[in-house]
Assembly symmetry: C2
Homo-oligomer: 479 residues x 2
Amino acid sequence: MIEKKALTKKDKDISRWYLDVIFLAGLADYAPVKGCMIIKPYGYKIWERIQSIFDRWIKEDGVENAYFPVFIPYTLLEKEKTHVKGFSPELAIVTVGGGEELETPLVVRPTSETIMYASFARWLKSYKDLPLKINQWCNVVRWEKRTYPFLRTTEFLWQEGHTVHLTEEEAEEMALKALGWYKKLYEEYFAIKVFAGIKSEAEKFAGAKRTYTIELFIENGKALQGATSHNLGQNFAKAFEIQILNEKNQLVYPWQTSWGLSTRSIGGLILSHGDNNGLVLPPKIAPIQVVILPVFDNSPSSELKDYVAKIEKILASLNIRFKTDWRTDKTLGWKRNDWEIKGVPLRVEVGSKELRNDSVLLAFRHSLEKKLVKLSEFEKNLEKFLEEIQTKLFEKSREKVSQFVVEVKSKGELVEAIESKRLVKAFWCGSPTCEAKLKAETKATSRVLELEEMEKKEKAKCAFCGKSASQRWIIGRSY
Amino acid sequence: MIEKKALTKKDKDISRWYLDVIFLAGLADYAPVKGCMIIKPYGYKIWERIQSIFDRWIKEDGVENAYFPVFIPYTLLEKEKTHVKGFSPELAIVTVGGGEELETPLVVRPTSETIMYASFARWLKSYKDLPLKINQWCNVVRWEKRTYPFLRTTEFLWQEGHTVHLTEEEAEEMALKALGWYKKLYEEYFAIKVFAGIKSEAEKFAGAKRTYTIELFIENGKALQGATSHNLGQNFAKAFEIQILNEKNQLVYPWQTSWGLSTRSIGGLILSHGDNNGLVLPPKIAPIQVVILPVFDNSPSSELKDYVAKIEKILASLNIRFKTDWRTDKTLGWKRNDWEIKGVPLRVEVGSKELRNDSVLLAFRHSLEKKLVKLSEFEKNLEKFLEEIQTKLFEKSREKVSQFVVEVKSKGELVEAIESKRLVKAFWCGSPTCEAKLKAETKATSRVLELEEMEKKEKAKCAFCGKSASQRWIIGRSY
């Protein structure tokens, strides 16, 4: 039974609320294997929406999908030293295959750089073969001690893009382009204000030259890494001996990028907009944008059925993703709660009253407001209503961020802000030593240096260690 | 370099031809891990076509996509005894996770009945929750000693549908519906004549009550299993204690089905239509339906560019999947070979001659015929041309099957036909003992009892053992 009272209040305990929403909305379920999750149909439909949007963008850019093996020989993973060091504590390893002990243990891919680049080395001969732009939609496994549905699971789904370029400039441009896609997905589709920028030396991807990141602010004061894009430099090219002939017929190492977005993004979506009544989905990403709720006593009259059919026809003609709830074994109140918990942006209620007046009762999920409108007005303005919801959700997200991110000048202010569950913006030196101390003392780390800040070169002091610093970073605890 | 001479003749050595085509057409590549393959972009695009077609059909039927973990605790797999017995020789087992030996080893899913049904048991309470129809697009792993790209790889991609029903009739209907989808996909989209029917006791899925199958005839005289659909009866429901309340409030075991189609189907597609010049793809499944090949000496004239743009506009307006080959670093002959090997149904060549005459030179891949047509005729008839190619490929496939499947009456005839690389149709008793002997003596097994034959009850004798038999089976060696 889905009942509102079973749902923890978000403002009381966001962690319990998060789990309640996931299970009550039918997004996911625990699996019979530790650390893994089952993505149920309603949650998977969100992933399918993400896939269809992102897949279109990358294909328009000439990226092609492919599929590489889930197993990586351990010997291959070892080739890039920083990379294997970063991933080795998190590996799931197959040691038995077909009833026999394997000579070379196989790692279940935590990411596919090594297995892909071993092949790229064979495929690429000349600058004419570049750029190579490959993407893969797949499952990956990183052994996690503490797991949390969507946000941190031993197995998760993602896309991983991998490109190879002749020049450093092109690779850098590609890494930033991917970051731009992620920002657009989060801001325009998820309606979430994000920070887009670069990671510190200590926080960058194992094996990357530079890691770009999308960071989300969560109301419990933590930052959530929403997607990353890596300029890999020539690190992997050298480790995997990828060499190509350039225009002057010289053998050179090409420049590479990799970039990924995972089902974790759904966790960010849940956390960002949800309220005490459950999930709130922005219209552009919602699997169901409009739910029609016919109101009747025992069984619907034929007039009501015809009227609903008329509304359905309107929705279909506008290409709206909708569903009609004809269930008879649930009360009206139960069904309203159910669609609220599921976060459907717009509920359209129609009973005998609406039927008589040629109108529909609209219930807006994001504001919980209700509005009676004529059917003709509904038809005329539906798209506008959905756009307005989308816009308002983004504005709300931006306001929340600006409230909760505070600018600090001193170590005292920084520590206090972190303790009171804020993200801080502060001059910071960027040094791994300073970052290690910061983490030890506050449990916080640098999250991101925003793109707009990267160019700045001010004369200032690190808010934490006092050494010279020239740029303002976003610092905070992370998921 | 892709050159026709590098391609083994199909009629000389179909196995080598198959590998040559896969590598020369860029469908797949060997992976740096034994038994696995890399599906390259051109091959993966065929899989994406299959996904988009099949996914639409199942969604129209109310099937919902979801995602279950890749890992299955060994203890869970053991619950259905026949099932674990069938799969245990083929398992890849994770014994180390996060640097530690696991207490319960995890199996990398060979199929997902056990991991899904453990959850179904928790989810399903009443007949109102039925039917449950879940599908999953994912990777699965079955450890294979001898592997072959697409046809038999340690890891492969597939869809697996899993449904639960209140009655046996509904489950049977669902199993047959899925079989119908597979038949439609193979015959109407792949243009391959198939045999659709039931498997023998000895050949059915481990744990199923009944297994339906799609079998393809291959020119080397072997049968290829193209997809299967299982009526699972109540076997898994009992093993996993899935019990639901029926309309009379009684606890009953529901009836289940599972059905799957994998990347192996691409192997069937390659083998069925390919010829001595390479791959031949039917227009309905081809990632590229039309390739435009501008013919020029050093660089194309602006007139030629405009003319090609005009053709591209026509193709776009007709929603044709097309590509224009402007490469300047390859000869015209090389490019023609390349597109032939890649099996693109229709090549449109345009040079100064065609430009002058407002015409295009069409090269049909399936017949290797060329035809000069006016541009207006091209625009008017293009869709018809593609439909005709599709129809002709299916007719050719049907003819081939009727030539190579021979009806036999005695054991002598049966053995001789199998030895001369034929599939046979013969009265057969269906007994596992007879099938074991058949396999030992001829390396052949029963492949399928076609749906049309299932109803028949003739009085006859088994062509192999002489005991009574009432139906004609398709028997042969299999991939």
